[in-house]
Symmetry: C2
Subunit: 138 residues, 2 copies
DNA sequence: TTGCGTGCAAAGGTTTTGCATGGCA
DNA sequence: TGCCATGCAAAACCTTTGCACGCAA
């Protein structure tokens, strides 16, 4: 699916919001609440539909955290399209998202491709675990 | 949370089913359907409640694949064959899920731990991409 | 004018919860 | 007997869908 063909008021407002998130994750409901606070009426269906399009065209990243809770989105921005492949580490405890880029992971991509015939999608993949701070808590 | 204090008929039946899954993943609905086929009546609530307890006590692992679909469970069992860290590869095209286990990935775990201070949760983490069959389609 | 985007409400699927009953220890 | 487990149905929750209307190009 492509990004919306039409430039609508709603898409404009949504993009402005996305840019304000500064790479932090948010849910569809966060978006809804944001516009509710701003007293701007945008239907939930529109939010879900636009987010889905933005995920499809790579502007947003979508991933899932715990339980059966809401999906998380992250705006990587336009610049990110030109970045080297990098990974996301998500801490299961504090929820922080870390971006890492290193040779070891490039090797992993090559390894998966050569030995397991698998083309890794680094944008979508999120590595879950415990970060430095949280691994030392208990 | 601890495993059930009481040994009930339902828990017994459930454990038997889990052992039959041989480390393959399944959903709560798979369990429900299994007992439906066997003409054994076990309420959905019971299934969810027992699965949750088994996750809490480490007997089951729980992870999430796609979208807003059902959670996946995996029985690691007493048999250590399935206890070893392994990864999930999910093909974004055909939807197949592959379980892989290899030295390269063990190294990745060590690398993340040592260099990035990150304890990877291999069960929860799902690597997305294209499998052998699907990468050759276009 | 064309057809995509929107809003509303209803439906859909998965999981949780309230409450009375059943059953283990 | 005391509590936990169960079953049922309803509710909760997030997300998708149908449909008529609005609006960009």
């Amino acid at each position: 699916m492509q990004r919306s063909a039409y430039k609508t008021r709603q898409l404009d407002l949504l993009m402005t919001y996305l840019e304000s998130t500064q790479g932090q994750h948010f849910t569809a409901d966060d978006v809804r609440k944001h516009f509710e606070e701003e007293k701007i009426n945008i239907g939930v269906a529109t939010i879900y539909r636009q987010l889905e399009k933005l995920v499809a065209d790579g502007t947003l990243q979508k991933y899932f955290i715990d339980d059966h809770s809401a999906a998380c989105f992250e705006y990587s921005g336009k610049d990110c399209a030109h970045c080297k492949p990098h990974f996301h580490l998500k801490c299961e405890v504090c929820g922080n998202l870390f971006h890492i880029e290193c040779e070891e992971l490039d090797q992993l991509i090559a390894h998966l491709s050569e030995k397991h015939d698998f083309d890794l999608n680094t944008v979508r993949t999120v590595l879950y675990g415990k970060c430095k701070k949280c691994r030392n808590l208990n």
